[in-house]
Symmetry: C2
Subunit: 194 residues, 2 copies
């Protein structure tokens, strides 16, 4: 694929991730995606012959990979550093968008899929599991038992996703600050209980 | 209002809460709501002259009140009993619907509102704050400091909402079990640190 092609295709995926995180999957159309990314509608179907399901699936994977790369880099300094980086990513997204954007993975997870259109939901499941797995491995590396590591990793992913929604409803970042302190305590307890 | 009227009106609100929790707010229409509740379209606009925004706002309040009543009743036996009842409500909703339904308050919170249509989102904010307030008061009554009580209450609401989404994506209830144990630990830590 030529560099320009890759650029246009990527812009569509990135635009889809943003749009889905703002308004949900059902309310996102290929037509609006093309408009949002300033791309011709024909080129959108050229890049994504599978239509909306394909773009949405790639958008979820794109968001998943972006977060996973940050987690991998920051977890080198330990689980608390990883948690802080994870929180910062979502906090920045919510604040910069004026509490209008959130997480496309969460958005896809709260909409029941139509028959034969489960690819985005399956991608969301994979993303959540990848984030949990990265956090759990780091917790184990720092001394948590497997059980505690798995539980705290799931708590972190679920709580941060939920906090994004609570903050959007409140149009306030305060819930993030509260949850951050409690999640650091959960990590400390899991590491201390080794 | 006659009893029959109240019944039809309530059915529409309950149907809206279910529909929004499955497919989101943007993808829910008054026409489909009427169909879902087996009510004539005209009667829907008769009961809800404000249209979809009004039904959605009342649906969020209905879900909020339902959960709040359970919390008020179960928190009499302490914060852990309240947490367990809160978890059970959502677990039952997710399992009984085959992982297709979730929380209408969460659904409304992850969709950016159109101009002048913020009433459902404001209702969602009020509901989250009410649940947090009930949990925080119980935690304080059982010895937590105000700060810890507020933090743990927000963690519980955010984590449970996030877990509903994670479970729907995974089509598995396991994340609920993990998060439940960690939230009980957070309560124990907050009560022990008095």
């Amino acid at each position: 694929m030529a560099e320009d092609d890759a650029g246009s295709r990527d812009r569509l995926v990135i635009g889809a991730a943003d749009m889905i995180s703002r308004r949900g999957l059902n309310a996102t159309s290929v037509r609006e995606l093309a408009k949002h990314a300033k791309a011709p509608l024909g080129s959108t179907y050229h890049y994504f012959p599978g239509g909306k399901q394909q773009v949405a699936t790639e958008a979820v994977q794109f968001a998943g990979d972006l977060v996973a790369r940050t987690l991998i880099a920051e977890l080198r300094a330990g689980p608390v550093a990883g948690l802080r980086a994870f929180l910062k990513l979502w906090r920045d997204t919510v604040v910069r968008s004026g509490f209008r954007a959130g997480c496309p993975v969460l958005a896809v997870s709260v909409e029941e899929p139509h028959v034969g259109e489960t690819a985005p939901l399956q991608a969301a499941d994979n993303v959540f599991k990848q984030w949990e797995s990265l956090l759990a491995r780091s917790l184990r590396d720092y001394g948590a038992t497997r059980k505690d590591a798995d539980q705290v990793a799931t708590l972190i992913v679920a709580a941060v996703e939920g906090t994004v929604a609570v903050c959007r409803a409140a149009r306030s970042i305060e819930p993030f600050d509260r949850v951050a302190i409690q999640l650091e305590r959960a990590i400390a307890a899991a590491l201390g209980a080794k």
